[in-house]
Amino acid sequence: MINSYVIDRRLNGKNKSAVNRRRFLERYRKHIKKAVNEAVNKRSITDMEHGESISIPQEDIHEPTIGHGQGGTRTIVNPGNKEFNTGDRIRKPQGGAGQGQGGGDASNTGEGMDDFTFTITQDEFLEFLFEDLELPNLVRKDLKEMSDFVYRHAGFTNQGVPNRINIVRSMRNAHARRIALSGKSRRRVKELKGLIEDEMAKDEALRDGRALADWQEELQRLETKIKRLPFIDDFDLRYNRNEKVPVPSNAAVMFCLMDVSGSMTQNTKDMAKRFFLLLYMFLRRNYEKIEVVFIRHHTSAKEVDEEEFFYSRETGGTIVSSALRMMSDIVKDRYPPNAWNIYAAQASDGDNWNDDSPQCRELLANSIMPLVQYYSYIEITPRDHQALWYAYEQVRKEYPDSFAMEQIIDPSDIYPVFRQLFQRKSA
C-alpha cells in the first residue's frame, strides 16, 4: 500500500516571507533610516552602492510575553552531576543570572544584550537613502518636436505581422465563416441521415434500394464538402493595431558646477564630490532620462565627463562667473528651456575673485534664474562667509522658490543638507 507522496517543491516560490519582511522594514523605518544616514557619512566615495547591515536594539523589537521573573523559590533539575551529594550547599555566583536559572525559561535571560542585526539589500538601501526626495518644480514641457512616444492600443486591423495576431478575434471570425459557408449543406446532411435511418428501419424487402444509394452518395458528397472548408483562412485573421501617440516629455538636465581652485583643500573637494555623487546617484535612480552636465572651474571653466569630474586633480585661481557663463552658453546651445527642465547644483568654498561676485549675481539673476527650475548652492567652509555668499543671498531674495543655498561644515552635514535641498514638498 502506498501511503506517501513525494513532492518536489523546490521550484515553488521561495519568497513567501517577502511580505512579512517588508512589514518588518516598514515598522522599523526610523531605525533603518538612522542606520542608513550614518552609513552614508562613513562610506568612501566609491563605495556608496551596496547593502547595509542594520542593528536595532533588542528591546525595541522585543515581543512581550508574560513569564516567570527571577526571585521566589524554585527547584531545577539538571543533568550531568559529578560531585554533588544531597544536602550540599553551593555559593551562588556573584552578579546576575547564573547557570541555575537557565533551566526553565530561557527566553529573556539568555539573549537580551545583543542588538538585532540584519542586512538590507542595495536596492533597499538606496530606497531609504532617497526616500521622499524629488527634483522640485519638475513640469512636463510641451514639445514642438515630439521625441517621446508611447504605443496605445487602437482597434484591430486585417493586416499585420504574425506576432500581433489577436487569436480570439481570428478564431471567432473563422468559426463564423465556417458556420455561414456550411449551413445549407449541414442542414441537408441532417435531413439525409434521417431519411436513411427511416429507410433502414424498414424491412429489408420493402426498402427502396435506388433512393437509398442516391441519398448515401449525396451524403458522402456533402460531408467531403464540409470537410474541405478550411479551419482558418487568410481573411479570418485579425491583428491588434497599435498607434504611436506623442507624449509631452519631462526631459531634465542637471548642471553640476564644482570649484576646483587652489583654495579648495583636498578635504573640501572630497566633500563636494561626495555631495555630487549623492546627487548623481539620486538622479540616476529616480529619473530614468536625465542628462547631467559636469562643469568644473578654477579661473576658467571646462565641461568634463563624469570620470574627470570626480577624479581629476587640476587646480588654479577662482573665477566663479566663468562657470556660470559656460552654463548659460550650454543652455543656449543644447537645452532650450521650453523643452527642458533645467537644474543646477553648485559647490564651492565661497572663495572668489573679489570683483567677480557682483558679476555672478548679475549673471544668475538675469540670465540663469529665469531659465532654471531650481538652483542649489552649497558652500563648504568652516570659515566666515565671503562676498560670494552675500551676493547669492540677494539672488535668493529675488527667487525664493527656486533658489536655495546651504552651508556644509563637515562631512556629516552632507546628507542632511542634501535632503533639505531636495525634500519633497507637500503640495
Binding site: 501511503n3 507522496y5 511580505v19 518588518f24 513569564g67 527571577q70 524554585r74
Partner: protein
C-alpha cells in the same frame, strides 16, 4: 534474512530512492504497529526552509511583521554560519506534511523520513491530547481561512489597525487556551458560515452586558454583590473576545483567530519530551532494523549514528552549551528504557515497574505514547536507571539565600523526589504564571481585574507591564493586575499607571504603534 544488496550506496539522493526508502521504512513501521496519517513529503530548498521556519512551520499564515523579524533573524544566522537549519519540519495535518531539505544527504533524508513521517506522524495521530484537542484534517483549511480573513480586514481597515490588534493578541496568546475544557474542533467552513451570524450576535451580547439603562434600586443592590465573571476565567483572550466593550466585530474575529491557533499549538507545547523522544526512538529503531536486514550499508549507518548522537546529546549542567534538559535525550532515554525493562528486567525494575517487567514492549510503548503528556509521562515512566544514566540532580534556589542547595540526586533516597520535581518542571501550568480574570466592574468604570497567583512566590517577569498595555488596548478601559502569594498581595500593576493620565500613558507605552 539479510539482503545481499543495499538500497543505495552513495550519499546523493534521488526521488526514486526516497520513494524506495519510504516504502521499506513504511513496511517495517507497520510491523511495529506505527499507525500514521498518509505522508506528504515535500522537498524544499534552504531558502524555503527559512520561510517555513519563520512562519512557525505553518504552510500558510497571515502576514505579520513578527514573522518578518523571525525570517531576518534566521537568514542572518544561517548566512553567517551560526546555525544549521533543521533537517526537517513536520506539520500536524492530514495528510501529514514533512519538509525535507534538498541539501541533505541520502542517509539524512532516510533518517528524517523515519523521524518525521513515521515517528511524529504516529504521535500526532494517536496521542490523546492531539486526538482530543486538534483536528488534523481541518488545520490547513483553517489557516487559509485565517489568512484570507486577515487580508480582508487589512484591505478594509488598514494594515496598521490590524497589526495593532494582532500585536496585542500575540502578547496574550499563551493565555488564549482552555486548559481544562475541551474546545470545539477547528473548521474553516463553519467559521465562514457562522461568521456573519456571530458578528451580529456577539455585538448584541456585549451590548446586553454593557447596557446602561437604569435599573430599579432594589435590583441594583443585588447586582453589585454578584460578580462578573462568576468564576475566574483562565482564557483571557476568550474573555476579551466575548466581553470587551469596545471591540469591533472584526477585531473580535482577529482575537478569535489568534486564540484558535494558540489552542492548536497547545498540545505540542505539552508533549515536547514525549513527541521528540518518540520520534527519536523510532528513527533509531527503524534505522537499526534497516541495517539488520541489509537495506543500508555500514557507511550509511555511521553517518546516521553521528547525526543521531548529535541529536540526543545532553551537555552537562556546567558545559557552556548547556541550556536546560534536551527533550530529545530525555524522551529517547525513557522510551528506550521502557523497552529494556520489558525485555530484560532487573530486580530493581521488577520492584519499580512490576507492570512493565517482562511484558510485551510494543504494547507498553504504545500505551505510554498514547495516554500521557510530558508531566504525567515523566511521573509515570522515569526510571532510576535513566536518572542514574543522566546523572540528574535537583537544585533548590531561594532568592533570600546566598547558597543553592542540592535537594536530591540520583540515589536511592532521591529517585522519587527527583522524579516528582522533574515532572513538575514540565507542568505547563506551573511553567507559566497562573493569571486569571477575576472581576469586571460592570456598573462602574468598566475596569477589568486580573489575579496572578504566585507559584513558590515567583514574581512576573518585566514584560508583564508591557503585556498589560496590550491588554488595555484590547479591553479599552482600566486594567488592574494583582500578584498574590497565598493571601498576601505582593505587587500590583495598573494600566494606565495610577499617576499618569490614561492617554498619555498609553501613547508612551506602546512603541511604534
Amino acid at each position: 534474512m539479510r539482503r545481499k544488496e543495499p538500497i543505495s550506496t552513495g550519499s546523493e539522493w534521488t526521488f526514486p530512492l526516497i520513494q524506495e526508502y519510504d516504502r521499506v521504512i513504511a513496511e517495517i513501521a507497520q510491523e511495529f504497529r506505527l499507525d500514521t496519517y498518509p505522508n506528504q513529503i515535500e522537498i524544499i530548498s534552504s531558502e524555503q526552509m527559512m520561510d517555513a521556519y519563520s512562519s512557525i512551520g505553518m504552510p500558510v499564515g497571515y502576514h505579520h511583521w513578527s514573522y518578518g523579524k523571525q525570517f531576518l533573524q534566521t537568514q542572518q544566522n544561517y548566512q553567517r554560519g551560526f546555525m544549521g537549519l533543521a533537517y526537517e519540519i513536520v506539520i500536524n495535518s492530514n495528510p501529514c506534511i514533512a519538509y525535507l531539505m534538498e541539501e541533505n544527504t541520502m542517509p539524512m533524508q532516510a533518517l528524517v523520513i523515519a523521524h518525521a513521517c513515521y515517528g511524529h506522524n504516529s504521535f500526532f495521530k494517536n496521542n490523546y491530547l492531539f486526538k482530543t484537542w486538534t483536528d488534523a484534517s481541518a488545520i490547513i483549511d483553517y489557516l487559509v481561512f485565517a489568512k484570507n480573513y486577515v487580508t480582508q480586514c487589512e484591505e478594509r481597515y488598514g494594515v496598521r489597525e490590524v497589526e495593532r490588534v494582532l500585536d496585542s493578541c500575540h502578547a496574550l496568546q499563551n493565555y488564549g487556551v482552555d486548559r481544562y475544557k475541551r474546545p470545539s474542533p477547528i473548521s474553516a467552513a463553519e467559521e465562514r458560515a457562522r461568521q456573519e451570524e456571530r458578528e451580529a450576535y456577539m455585538q448584541q451580547q456585549v451590548n446586553l452586558l454593557w447596557r446602561t439603562i437604569p435599573v430599579p434600586e432594589s435590583k441594583k443592590e443585588e447586582e453589585t454583590r454578584s460578580r462578573y465573571p462568576a468564576e475566574p476565567q483562565e482564557n483571557i483572550l476568550y474573555f476579551i473576545e466575548k466581553n470587551a466593550p469596545l471591540l469591533e466585530p472584526w477585531q473580535r474575529e482577529l482575537v478569535r483567530i489568534v486564540r484558535k491557533l494558540a489552542q492548536y499549538f497547545y498540545p505540542q507545547r505539552q508533549t515536547q519530551v514525549m513527541n521528540e523522544g518518540w520520534a527519536s526512538f523510532w528513527h533509531y529503531t527503524l534505522m537499526n532494523e534497516l541495517y539488520n536486514r541489509g537495506y543500508i550499508t555500514e557507511g550509511f549507518m555511521m553517518e546516521f549514528l553521528q547525526s543521531h548522537s548529535a541529536v540526543v546529546y545532553q551537555p552537562p549542567y556546567d558545559s557552556r552549551f548547556y541550556s536546560g534538559i534536551n527533550p530529545y535525550t530525555l524522551g529517547f532515554n525513557i522510551y528506550r528504557d521502557i523497552r529494556r525493562m520489558c525485555e530484560n528486567p532487573t530486580d530493581e525494575d521488577r520492584e519499580w515497574f512490576p507492570d512493565l517487567a517482562g511484558t510485551d514492549w510494543l504494547d507498553a510503548l504504545h500505551f505510554a505514547m498514547e495516554n500521557f503528556k510530558d508531566e504525567s509521562f515523566i511521573q509515570q515512566y522515569l526510571s532510576p536507571k535513566v536518572m542514574r544514566d543522566m546523572h540528574l540532580f535537583a537544585v533548590f534556589d531561594d532568592e533570600n539565600e546566598s547558597e543553592y542547595e542540592i535537594t536530591a540526586i540520583h540515589d536511592e533516597q532521591g529517585y522519587r523526589k527527583l522524579r516528582s520535581l522533574l515532572a513538575e518542571q514540565y507542568n505547563l501550568s506551573t511553567r507559566e504564571p497562573n493569571i486569571q480574570v477575576v472581576d469586571v466592574d460592570l456598573r462602574g468604570d468598566r475596569a477589568i481585574t486580573l489575579r496572578h497567583t504566585r507559584h513558590n512566590n515567583i514574581p512576573l517577569n518585566k514584560d508583564a507591564e508591557e503585556v498589560m498595555k496590550h491588554l488595555h488596548r484590547l479591553w479599552g478601559f482600566d486594567v488592574h493586575l494583582h500578584s498574590v502569594d497565598g493571601d498576601v498581595l505582593r505587587q500590583s500593576y495598573h494600566m494606565p499607571p495610577k499617576d499618569k493620565s490614561p492617554d498619555q500613558a498609553l501613547e508612551e507605552g506602546l512603541k511604534y504603534v
